[in-house]
Symmetry: C2
Subunit: 485 residues, 2 copies
Amino acid sequence: MDGAGPEPHLFVVFGATGDLMQRKLLPVLHRLGTGGRWPAGSLVLGVARRPMDDAAFRAMAVGSLGSDPSHPPASARAFCDATLYYQSVPDETAASFAQLRARIERLEREHGLRGNRIFYLALPLEAFGPTLTGLGDAGLHAGPGWTRVVVEKPFGRDLASAEALNRIALRYFDEKQIFRIDHYLGKETVQNLMVFRFANMFIESLWNRERIDAVEITVAESLGVEGRAPYYEASGALRDMVQNHVTQILTLVAMEPPATRDEDSIRNEKVKVLQSVVPLAGDDVVRGQYAAGAIAGSPVRGYREEPGVAPGSSTETFVALRLRIANWRWQGVPFYVRTGKRMPAKSTRVVLTFKAPPVTFFQTAQEYRANPDRISILIQPDEGFELAFEVKVPGRELRVQTHRMKFHYADVFGELPDGYETLLIDVMLGDSTLFVRADEVEASWRLYDPILRNPPPLLPYPAGSWGPDAAQALIAAWGHRWFLE
Amino acid sequence: MDGAGPEPHLFVVFGATGDLMQRKLLPVLHRLGTGGRWPAGSLVLGVARRPMDDAAFRAMAVGSLGSDPSHPPASARAFCDATLYYQSVPDETAASFAQLRARIERLEREHGLRGNRIFYLALPLEAFGPTLTGLGDAGLHAGPGWTRVVVEKPFGRDLASAEALNRIALRYFDEKQIFRIDHYLGKETVQNLMVFRFANMFIESLWNRERIDAVEITVAESLGVEGRAPYYEASGALRDMVQNHVTQILTLVAMEPPATRDEDSIRNEKVKVLQSVVPLAGDDVVRGQYAAGAIAGSPVRGYREEPGVAPGSSTETFVALRLRIANWRWQGVPFYVRTGKRMPAKSTRVVLTFKAPPVTFFQTAQEYRANPDRISILIQPDEGFELAFEVKVPGRELRVQTHRMKFHYADVFGELPDGYETLLIDVMLGDSTLFVRADEVEASWRLYDPILRNPPPLLPYPAGSWGPDAAQALIAAWGHRWFLE
């Protein structure tokens, strides 16, 4: 896996005129090109409904790249001219897919490609099934070289739809060909979780019910729904964040050490965590929706006032959960999960609180309040680790204060690679370690399906707060409080 | 202990014209005075052999303080005039001590002091016994108020002399009146060791033979013997550093949690550590003496060429030891101790190396060398903690590097109080937690006595090196290496 770079291939993007391709994938592809990491001779074939020729598609791409000064126009144009092609697939008929197949084979022939293909589905959920079927029926699931298909999130909108989508995908493709993307898994800190735990004996020896009192996972955004109301109205925080990103972090925090570092060993352990989660009851969940409020002193409107949101919308923009993992490592240690829009800060972090010392040896005349030590894993916006521990305040009296040791990635390594870049190269190399396996995605939906089918009441919270008060009560009932506030 | 300040008293310093008083104690006393922490009405009575009146002694003190700009002349003069007195004690006859007693009583009467007395013996070793005897025979061991006696290091030069000194001291004084000083115990980081261990559950849960592979204590000086040859020739590194400072650090690192934070609970636990140390054999010790070499690029002479050092001196300026502590917590964990002059850097630190992970899960094509994690307790020149752990290097390949989380006292608390200041206030308050008890000092001498009586060969090492090669071999034989190099 550490040897040669990816083989030359044809990178086919469905949804090539859409936001994800234009704003996210193109910059990564261009960076790979200018960085000498683009496999020589590889081409990109953009696919979308609208009719357009190669030149128009290249001009569109050059325009998209041009909005960021890190992509100089000359270089962007050279890359696009040499690499980008376009094929309209106006509908999901067999004829359209046959035309696509013909175009693919012609491009490969003309450019001496040996038939390695990636189909990247940068599409809305409802298009995944028809596109996979179209590819399969056209015989594009198996070409002269390897064939891989990348499916963006959301992979389903509940357990039944995820199972249906897996059935379609697996009708044509092997599991090893399918790359279900979760861009959180491309983040360095998320990957580093395994190194942090399993390359550091002292960390792993603390990572259990004997030493840990509670685990908090917070994914807070200060943004509102912004321009994504049509998507978000049909989704909500549980589908948009919890089922995928947050659950990925949860499984990496909680999993057992895998037997090997191959992709199935690791994913087996992640699935086992999900299998050990005690089914959620209604009172384990708080759903919230932001009302008008203020972010950083500026007033912002409520969710229901956002353009494109129904005035009586029941979509949640905040979820808090308390989970139990009933296995040998974690029985008795609550996992608290929280995500929301319009929180006071953008911050993604995992906080593990250690148990308090059994005796407060340093009890003095003034009451000593034992601050439990904590390890924080910072994922966004800074990436790194912090360790909060008790320190003696200088001076004769024995006073104790909480201070932090810190390790921030940026201090040592500078800017981190884009998560999408990591994941794209993985796809090109055929390494699916950082992608979500069929049984994993279903296990995750299985966990949240009861909540989706029978959602608890929706509670308003002011924009700029940490969610409804009920989120505090949720974990106070189990003797804890959220650390990040 | 945290309540009122110290009571007014007479602070009697033997050796009042000497270096320790003039350079170390006077600045602390003046700082207490200007800082409003000098107990109102308390006086200092300087005692030495030479005849001198109060005015001359005050002038001497003002001159000594004047060498440091943090003691403005006007303030220094005001403090000295108001506080300092002098009494010559030309010999150890009963008559001389009777004169001292008369002076003490007169001063107390004239200044309305109620008879609380501290006798601070800033004297060479050989004067401790006669002075304690003189005080006792003159009835100064018990006055109208409380009486405390402070004994500087070295407390003895071997087990027999330490026992003899304790016998003399305890003939007149109760153990609770005797304050055997070790100025390392005044250092914040040394005191913080107990807080670090016992107020932080995750630290204490790692602090044992299950998790720790080895412990290193290094006290390195870059200075040579400087002006102290006459003292040092008769002492050497084992007596000057190991028996006291290093052993204090060792016991604080290794001890069990005390039942209470009172002075005897803590010192009981420290003695237990010393009782559990396996007696040293000759091959557990390396003795070295610096030869000519270079410090920071500048040539320096060897110890035997220093003024006041015998050309054939067999005094060691370097000691390395390997110790075993045969108790439930530490059996099987080697403690490596090392101190020396003319090392490459001035550095005092304790390094605890964790055991390596049981499997190197991250083994890749290029060989993965497991770097064991370490906790470093920094004592000099910076004070703080560092945690060295393994981090994933950003990028697709799973590469691992060692990085550090740091907590440095100075970043949070600024300059730390002088250790002597802490200890002087403790004496004034009668808190002997940070002083060495009779059985403790004897247990320490008992440990090193066999080495003193039968010293292993003296090996030369170049100034500016980490000691003789044999110091590396000493611990390599047990599978380890020194971390600080």
